[in-house]
Symmetry: C2
DNA sequence: GATCAAATTTAGCCATGCCTAAATATTATG
DNA sequence: CATAATATTTAGGCATGGCTAAATTTGATC
């Protein structure tokens, strides 16, 4: 009985679960790559904390370790894990842009399909998609697409809720996780690149903003505002 | 503790494995939907026969039974299983056509990527792809694409090795599983739609054929010939 | 119809990843 | 600093889908 080929276990490649954990650690750790707690991961992944612990222990073992894990103190990505997470993130954002630009998906439809397919596209498909798109820099929500080598230029984005009144800003990106929020933003003309100014008039966590060349300021619900990030920018055109 | 959402088990949908078994039964059963043996499945799927038995027993139980399974006598698809198998086959062939026509894949490159993605595309993506392609009838290898409702027109294809000498035929489809064979066929101008005539001169299982308007007959290896199916057709143009 | 080889199934394991319940560690508070 | 609340880990299971080795069944042959 010779060394049987096992098409299924063919390469000790990553499972969908492993990829999802790595990507979640990348996202939750933020640009500072802070430690991420088991609870945060559990919530983000829709899984119980006990399951997270189990997975983190496995990821920490691996031949080239994927994460640095200290019991009771959260995880960070190790270099190999960060590489892989960025690769998946690149898949996700390229797919979103492709579905949007070439297959008539609206920006609130792209996320779910990209979320699944990101785990299964080959290097070849990744490259062909990137080529067709002309090597784009951002996805339909304004998120930067990591380069093939994992490079991801940092950006000084700030949540809209943290932006000062009266200072002109430009929408840099919006969260892609809530499609009804995306449809609402679409309706309001709130998309990446649009100028925006926060007006005085905070009520709770809602924000009063003037969008683009809009005459009337609009009050954004907390949910909506929470999904918007901005950069310093010119005042809305008059 | 309320009814927790489990994003992973979200729908008791099919696993990749289940889909692969159903598709394999469809393919191995042929147009007559003959019973398929455990061994044949094991070989086709790259899995041990014991594993096949286990899976068949599970598929036979299922709420809407996927297969009719008689111990020691092979399986056939039950209606629900046939539906699902055709759905996956549709995905596969649409993907092959799309990768070929829109993403610059050569016909020997499409199979592997389609084989993986077929399990993960949404109804929405399936529809958008079909629309972009203009609702095509065949994939790049000449295989018919099942319709959305599972309809798959029968076709009187015959293996080239079974075709009579001298009777003009047209290549209807070629196997997509062996990419080096596909490159060879490409080189010879052997593609669906091309006229072909078998010449006298059988040697072993090789076949001597005149392709299209070719002057010199070509001898096809057994491996190559085994992947070609033909229909009755006009003589090659002179 | 007995016998034997090949095909198939059963039995018993293993790895993944998830879950609940029960420890245990950390952190915040008085 | 002791204690309580919170976070995290451990322990013990379950389902899926593989595998090997050991039955068992089938079907062909004499
Ligand atoms: Mn995912
Ligand atoms: Mn996005
Ligand atoms: Mn497959
Ligand atoms: Mn094909």
């Amino acid at each position: 009985m010779y060394d049987l080929v096992q098409p299924r276990n063919r390469i000790p490649a990553n499972t969908e679960s492993v990829d999802d954990y790595l990507k979640a650690i990348l996202e939750l750790g933020g640009p500072e790559e802070a430690r991420v707690t088991s609870n945060a991961l559990a919530q983000h992944l829709g899984v119980r904390a006990a399951s997270v612990t189990g997975m983190l222990q496995k990821l920490a073992l691996q031949k080239p370790s994927y994460v640095k894990y200290e019991k009771h103190h959260g995880v960070r990505l190790a270099p190999a894990g960060k590489m892989r997470a960025l690769e998946i993130l690149r898949h996700h954002r390229l797919l979103e842009r492709y579905l949007h630009d070439f297959l008539d998906y609206s920006w609130d439809e792209v996320h779910d399909d990209a979320e699944r397919l990101e785990h299964f596209i080959s290097e070849r498909l990744e490259d062909r998609i990137a080529a067709k798109l002309g090597y784009p820099e951002t996805d339909p929500h304004g998120h930067l697409i990591p380069e093939r080598n994992g490079a991801l230029p940092p950006r000084q984005e700030v949540l809209l809720s943290k932006w000062a009144c009266g200072v002109p800003a430009v929408v840099s990106s919006v969260s892609d996780r809530d499609s009804s929020a995306l449809r609402e933003m679409e309706r309001l003309g709130l998309r990446p690149g649009v100028g925006i100014k926060v007006e005085a008039g905070t009520r709770g966590a809602t924000v009063l903003v003037r969008i683009g060349s809009g005459v009337e300021p609009v009050r954004l619900s907390e949910r909506l505002a929470a999904g918007i990030s901005v950069l310093a920018g010119p005042a809305p055109a008059r």
